[in-house]
Symmetry: C2
Subunit: 154 residues, 2 copies
């Protein structure tokens, strides 16, 4: 039965390396590196043929207490409604997993240079996946507070 | 230092419930439910305002041995080149995390009905994230074998 409490154990495949710990990670024009541990080198073969990949990472600075926050004001803005964390991309969530689509600019052996990764220096990386046509939302609808170019008014 | 071996521990937030264990999960027209454990009910508030969400799940049937497979023929097709697992969406990967963008059709309390989730019955779910404009790849390029409508020839 799926209701039994389970523990799932993962190990990082690498980590994020930024030029400085003080970069604004929300600046989408910034580049950074992902260092993949050398034992996974074979698993990278061919990834340089993709222009975009998803990076799945572990938000290692989120505390145990923050994992028990279930409602937030999106982006910390008090004028936005209090909503469930699964309705946001907040780092505070039961499993603090980060997901970002990045541009893959180059690969040198086990080092990937990417643009648009909003993860801090030394963030552990869990997985990499190439973008696919199934990742495209057709007729995407979102609440007003979500904003963004893709939003269609209801 | 980020190079020290770390273990990351997660707990499922819920699981996938399909009408039958024998459904073809690759059939994108099929609907299924995601049962979120009731203790996370608050975290769902507002999610029904989104038409599309990412489901992040744990491929629980992938064996320890399969986690050490680093190269595969995409989709098991021998006529496609042998590439690294990070260049594919293969379930065989060091951390068998699944990522699927689904249509969110309805929410009844802690139960979400979705379309397009290619996860088996009883698959543990780790996280839910609303789709955002940052998840859209502009000028996506991929190798020929990847296929799909979004591909632009190089």
């Amino acid at each position: 039965m799926a209701s039994i409490k389970q523990r799932i154990i993962m190990e990082p495949i690498g980590y994020v390396k930024r030029l400085s710990k003080f970069e604004d990670v929300k600046d989408e024009t910034l580049e950074c590196d992902i260092i993949i541990y050398e034992r996974f080198l074979d698993a990278l073969e061919g990834i340089e043929s993709f222009s975009h990949i998803f990076v799945i990472y572990w938000l290692h600075l989120v505390s145990e207490d923050s994992r028990r926050i279930y409602k937030v004001h999106p982006k910390g803005k008090r004028d936005l409604p209090l909503v469930g964390v699964f309705s946001t991309r907040s780092p505070n969530r039961p499993n603090p997993i980060g997901l970002t689509l990045v541009e893959l600019l180059a690969r040198r052996s086990n080092i990937l240079t990417v643009r648009g990764l909003d993860a801090l220096d030394e963030t552990p990386v869990l997985d990499l996946k190439p973008y696919s046509r199934h990742d495209k939302a057709e007729n995407f609808k979102a609440p007003d507070w979500w904003g963004g170019k893709l939003q269609l008014k209801l």
